[in-house]
């Protein structure tokens, strides 16, 4: 190789480097773009072309993307926080204080981490509700619904394990309560009298805390789960979750879509009128494509390339999420209480807001509120696609008029039942106040929490008989649970004060 040749190669380095990075030339044409999408491992998690209905804003509200975007923000800010955080009982609180008051930008990063958590939990809940109400868990998508449930549990687990890390009073007492909820099957085994021989509650608690009390072992375990185990699991399952959308034929959509439904969504001019002389019959693509055979003669399908329309929407949602989180983080600080003190409990000791609905139930019966009812709810959610197998059109909110009516009636029913029961409980107390010597077994079975569940199940069975449809009865039950979850969360957040007593306003709390 001559010297001249060498210099030529050297001068051509930027160009060859560009070609090495973009292996398909500049992605300026649809063809080059689709090649890029197909051959890039990160982009190919999307399909190459999407249906226009996918981009309908009032259909998805972009909730799934917002949840994924906030997870991404959490990973980045979490890594930054780990530069200074020290997972040791003696140093943890000090290192969080350093981050908050000394490290430049530390408080902002911590606030962003905190707010992104809240946004993620809200968007995950709303995303689940969206998928449920648009019947998008049906047909081939049941597997992805189950993956979504796994992600839901991982999300709650991640936020819960992060709560202890600052080692302040807030986290310490929230985790005290939570770890004893894990031990609450004891309430049942005690009532039956078999704790000596079989103690799953105690085992769970010891497994979580690595001890009987919250100490260094608990902190180490929570740190490990929060920073390595759960994020890793989340990343894996999340990738599968997003990839399944593509494999299941894109987002769920109605069989018949009117042009009116897709007003304002980008169109692909090139696909218009390609099939002018297409044969007027359908071809089955058995084994290759799930669902009904594509109609070949119907002319161009309503698809557009993912690049640019979908990618722009996704990036816009990421930027929107980041913007909201940054604004919130700028104005509202993440809480940091005094250093954890095992001798002085917080009063009231409240869990993070998204667990407060459960904490209200826990204040009736630890086992039912903390283990029994959540398990019933999660199992119910998990089994929805396997129990409700009605054939119906997907991709419309509440399906049709009947669905809307069922959802509205359930909303009214569930809110009146929940509020009524709360008023009753606050005013008159419950069994223990009337019969102090009553057996705990009866309280486990009959407490405001289980009464609510019984009311909802009865209502849902009523809907099943009235409409003769499992889908409508599922809508009724899901609505009841969501509504009462929201009301209980609100109630426990604003109307429960010291000693878990009822107060109208926080300003009425006694000074202690």
């Amino acid at each position: 190789m001559s010297l001249k040749d060498f210099f030529q190669k050297l001068a051509g380095l930027p160009k060859s480097f560009r070609e090495f990075l973009l292996r398909h030339g500049r992605p300026t044409t649809d063809r080059a773009r689709s090649q890029t999408v197909m051959s890039n491992i990160f982009l190919h998690i999307h399909s190459n072309r999407i249906h226009r209905y996918t981009l309908k804003k009032t259909f998805t509200f972009g909730l799934g993307v917002v949840a994924a975007a906030s997870f991404f923000i959490l990973i980045v800010t979490g890594l930054i926080l780990m530069i200074y955080y020290k997972p040791s009982v003696d140093l943890a609180y000090g290192s969080i204080k350093d981050i908050n008051f000394i490290v430049s930008g530390g408080r902002f990063v911590r606030n962003v981490h905190r707010w992104a958590t809240n946004i993620m939990i809200v968007s995950v809940l709303l995303h689940m509700a969206r998928v449920f109400y648009t019947a998008a868990y049906k047909r081939a998508r049941s597997f992805n619904w189950v993956l979504g449930m796994v992600l839901f549990i991982l999300t709650l687990g991640l936020s819960f394990t992060g709560y202890l890390l600052p080692w302040d009073q807030l986290g310490y007492w929230a985790i005290t309560i939570a770890s004893n909820i894990a031990a609450s099957p004891r309430e049942l085994t005690d009532a039956v009298g078999i704790t000596q021989f079989f103690d799953p509650g105690g085992m769970m608690k010891t497994l979580i805390l690595g001890s009987q009390e919250i100490g260094q072992d608990a902190l180490t375990r929570f740190f490990l789960l929060h920073t390595i185990a759960l994020p890793l699991a989340m990343g894996l399952v999340l990738s599968a979750h997003i990839w399944r959308i593509r494999k299941d034929g894109g987002l769920a959509r109605p069989d018949e879509i009117k042009a009116k439904d897709m007003e304002g969504i980008a169109e692909d001019d090139k696909t218009k009128c390609i099939f002018n002389n297409a044969p007027q019959k359908t071809y089955g693509l058995m084994c290759l494509v799930q669902g009904k055979s594509p109609a070949v003669g119907r002319g161009p399908e309503n698809t557009i390339p993912s690049w640019p329309s979908l990618f722009i929407a996704e990036i816009a949602l990421l930027v929107l999420t980041l913007g909201i989180v940054c604004v919130l983080a700028y104005f509202f600080n993440a809480p940091l209480k005094e250093i954890a003190d095992a001798t002085v409990p917080e009063n009231p000791a409240k869990a993070p807001w998204y667990f407060l609905g459960l904490q209200e139930l826990v204040s009736y019966s630890a086992f039912m509120g903390g283990v029994g009812i959540p398990t019933i709810a999660l199992l119910g959610l998990l089994l929805i696609p396997f129990i409700d197998r009605e054939e119906q059109s997907l991709g419309r909110w509440f399906d049709n008029r009947n669905g809307r009516i069922a959802a509205r009636n359930s909303l009214l029913y569930a809110s009146s039942v929940t509020i009524g029961l709360l008023i009753f409980t606050v005013k008159f107390g419950w069994l223990r106040n009337w019969y102090p010597d009553i057996s705990q077994l009866i309280i486990i079975l009959v407490n405001p929490g289980t009464v609510l569940v019984a009311f909802f199940v009865t209502w849902s069975i009523g809907c099943l008989r009235k409409y003769n449809s499992t889908r409508l009865s599922a809508i009724a039950l899901f609505t009841c649970f969501i509504v009462s979850f929201i009301i209980l969360t609100y109630f426990a957040t604003y109307h429960r004060g010291p000693n878990w007593d009822f107060y109208w306003l926080k300003s009425q709390w006694p000074i202690h």
Binding site: A183, T206, T343, P348, N499
Partner: protein, 166 residues
């Protein structure tokens, strides 16, 4: 094309070929040993030794507690009372979800979920499933007393030196 005679015989006489059988045995052995290893690993995360502070602690001598007195051991979450009948210790850990109850006049209140206990530790209100635990008091050879927070005694059990001597 028909199957050659020799192969036909093997297929009919034995339900599974030797090769398949050995393969299956190997696969199941690998799977079951992996399963056992997993169970072992789960055992790994159960602490073999609890790192907590010892549950037994000294509370002084009987003479240190005049009749009608009480003493709270904050770190241990235990309260010790003395009355005419003797000395008794109660745990201050709420039986609901493990918060520390606070001593009020003639009763104990839990700040977390509003459980209330009477002076004997019986549940008066709230979600607590059990009364507060009464703990075992014993005397050491040097005359000092200790409380074992791991050993529950029936409600109403009081420690009295006279009883023990008599």
């Amino acid at each position: 094309m028909s199957i050659p005679e020799t192969f036909k015989n093997v297929e009919e006489s034995s339900p599974m070929s030797r090769r398949d059988f050995l393969g299956l045995v190997a696969a199941w052995m690998a799977a079951s040993s992996l399963g056992c290893a997993l169970i072992g690993l789960m055992k790994f995360s159960m602490p073999a030794l609890l790192p907590d502070i010892p549950k037994t602690f000294k509370i002084g001598r009987l003479e240190d507690y005049p009749i009608g007195s009480e003493k709270i051991f904050e770190e241990r979450k235990v309260i010790v009372f003395r009355d005419q009948e003797g000395l008794y210790a109660m745990s201050l850990i709420c039986t609901h979800l493990g918060c520390t109850v606070s001593k009020q006049v003639g009763q104990f209140d839990c700040p977390c979920h509003g459980s209330k206990f009477d002076a004997m530790g019986r549940v008066k209100a709230g979600p607590a499933p059990k009364p507060l635990s009464w703990l075992k008091i014993s005397q050491l050879p040097d005359g000092k007393l200790d409380v074992n927070a791991m050993r529950e005694v029936p409600m109403g059990t009081k420690f009295n030196i006279q009883n023990r001597v008599g």
